[in-house]
Chain length 334, copies 3
């Protein structure tokens, strides 16, 4: 049985398979790909694009989705093996995952990082518990370590605009925020861009390094695909010659930076990392702008970037639909 919770489930070859199918089906009349099929969607965290796009994929393919919100409409769920369950989590994933598997054909789970502990994000406890206990294919709708659907949608957007991603110079640039965000999206951009053969530049202030295991995994993909990855604290250096700029905020690298002292002040001290038209002027003349959304306007990215014709944020969001249709079809294939 197939699952897609991390890019390593696909590797560079699988990334090509998903993207090729997504591109082939885009714009064509939707076929009843999911006739009689149900996707169960379990949300531990809020969602707009993910909820609407996955549900739309199922409905437009003549299938259906069942949406469950953990902690409001649904019991809080325990993931720790052997737990003595005498606190607020009323049900264990050991039961929830196999039980839901009896009622649906595929399961999607969204579960954000608890924040501030990259080692725990590597373990990815909630999605991993689901993976151990489901009996139907599982797809990540973003977990602590990765948001693979987002990374794949970003690659589709790049390919549509540039034809190929082979050795395409792209910058992932850190953005300011009012609070420390999870690293699932930057991790996924890095991993999928490397798997798609991009020349990836990652720019961030000191102290915001991505996790060594994620970086090593991306490095291996780049080596396999002829891509490359460089890291810098100098935004302008990264941008030089970049054909695409991907802005995203994420929290500090070390746990101590979250707990000791004022994270807000740390984030605010890098307010000049906000992407503006001036920032973009340092990239290639035809550079496009991408962001995963939601975006805090005039904090992460200036209005004039988002409202400029070179922005692909709305097209990029639409591509969530197209890659997810491809993913769900792949999950159901033998």
């Amino acid at each position: 049985m197939k699952h897609l919770t991390h890019i390593r489930d696909l590797g560079p070859e699988g990334v090509e398979t998903i993207l090729a199918q997504a591109a082939a089906w885009k714009g064509k009349a939707p076929a009843p790909l999911f006739l009689g099929r149900i996707l169960g969607m379990v949300f531990f965290n809020p969602s707009l694009r993910t909820r609407a796009s996955f549900e739309s994929v199922m409905l437009r393919g003549s299938g259906n989705a069942i949406v469950m919100d953990v902690g409001s409409g649904v019991w809080k769920l325990e993931d720790r093996p052997g737990a003595v369950m005498n606190e607020d989590r009323a049900e264990h994933i050991k039961e929830a995952a196999p039980v839901l598997s009896r009622f649906v054909d595929m399961l999607g789970v969204r579960t954000f990082s608890a924040g501030g502990d990259d080692e725990q994000d590597e373990v990815d406890p909630v999605i991993s518990a689901f993976r151990r206990h489901v009996t139907v294919p599982l797809v990540s709708m973003e977990s602590a370590r990765e948001h693979p659907c987002q990374g794949l949608a970003d690659m589709l957007t790049l390919r549509e605009n540039f034809g190929s991603t082979k050795k395409l110079p792209v910058t992932l640039t850190w953005a300011p925020h009012i609070k420390p965000l999870p690293k699932a999206v930057p991790n996924s951009f890095l991993l999928t861009a490397a798997a798609a053969g991009c020349e990836v530049r990652v720019a961030h202030p000191p102290g915001f390094e991505l996790h060594p295991q994620v970086r090593a995994e991306a490095e291996a993909y780049a080596k396999a695909t002829g891509g490359s990855i460089t890291y810098t604290h100098d935004q302008a250096e990264a941008l030089a010659g970049s054909r695409a700029v991907y802005a995203k905020s994420w929290g500090p690298a070390t746990r101590s930076a979250h707990t000791a002292g004022d994270v807000s002040a740390l984030l605010a001290s890098h307010a000049d990392w906000m992407t503006t038209r001036k920032t973009l002027s340092r990239a290639a003349a035809d550079a496009l702008f991408l962001h995963c959304l939601p975006v805090r306007r005039n904090v992460e990215v200036a209005d004039d970037v988002l409202d400029h014709p070179t922005s692909r944020v709305i097209d990029g969001a639409e591509n969530r639909f197209h890659v997810q249709r491809s993913i769900l079809s792949w999950l159901l294939s033998a």
Copy 2:
């Protein structure tokens, strides 16, 4: 592309179109009017009738609905142009509206008035932001200024019972409540009743005047349709000869009445405006009772009115289904 966020989108002629189609289809076997179509429903506020009736319209027409709750299941949304988004609203409607438009065929939005500021209600900032940024037809499921589906359902109820609404004497009477409510429903009753040619009487205590712009718009409709509108502080005077009584609570006219002093005390001081059988005895002998629901029994309206054979509150709620089927079909027509 068509939208229906305010009665001015229809005018008296459009009101006739919607009502005629709703009446023609009522009671007939539902056709696959919405085959393969998805209505996205965005709720900033709770709903029972609206959620169930819109979803039922889509399902009975072989379509589907995707339901999103802002602030619980979905990110809080920003509507202000140029906002520096460093507070709790994580996403701008400038992104949310066009992104959702890529996943659905129509969008519905419910967004109550923030309360106490009629000028802001005239601006109707949230639904207006959606209207600017959607790329599919938009329908209001109640916004700050109006609740057009409710007003149209009320007119259908009147026509079913009285054959015609031309010069039909109807009273909109203010009702007591435990808190100041938005004016979307009374505004919509006034506007649609005027557009349908009714002889409208509006009765309320001093200080609860409806907004001058709404009144002027209704006046223009009445002039065009041969209807009329009168305002009084004397409930009995309004009721004399009325064939239908529509009770509804709303808040004070001026912002100062909300902020300065005790609104609850103000509302309580008019407790005798509650509709009882005795109130209704002042109307025509065959007068019917309507209310948009939800209704606070024995605060706004007495049990004996709601449980009396002359009440049309349940039939009126059912008519939400019928006018909404007509509206959504009209929105999708070229």
Copy 3:
């Protein structure tokens, strides 16, 4: 019009009808049993299995469900006749039930016991108010007194494993918990097991007696079916020779035990009632373990019981689907 809110709506004969149809359809390709039909689902309380299983039943039968959460997405509802509605409940079931009935073909309601008042649970005020005011068939998704779908699913699980439930020795054993739980599930197990002809043994600590009216009703069913019921405070005595062990926690029998003193301490004082492999060793050699879920692992039941091959908790949860398909089909039959 048929309703299923309590086992008395079926009696022993109806229980047989539901179980026979559920068994006959299990494993067969789903037919379009619910083509064009909508089940409205109103949740006053959280749910995982119930929500997913009912929605799946409708979707797999070519129908649909509309899900509403009272108090978050939907107004809080009043059930008391004659109430002066000046508190937080904005809508009366007298309106909500008939209005929803206009938009759907069947209604399901989940409404837990307020807790600690068995007399009120007997009255079962919320589901009873819905029953009085709906105009379409109503099914309980658990109310204060009973959870009939759960009881029926448990009987299906027993029959699948043992062929027949006639004089089958089964133990319902009380389990420890961190808080006092409603009695709907133990009540329903008792009632359905008696109606299915089991030899039922109920074991619990002193002070946790089930309500006399429930016990009397179960006794009548047992008399009619050749079953039997015994009560004991001695878990080992009950288990001797039992072919199935059903563990479930519930609160004290008397209201005073809830209000006076520390319920948590009372519950904790019976921590040794947790079901372990050692507990099960006192039952028959081939004894199976059942639980309605959610289960607090290592509080109510030890890991080694739930993870043992003799556990039927996941299969039992799947049977919710099968009995509910049978129930909804029965509700719609003339």
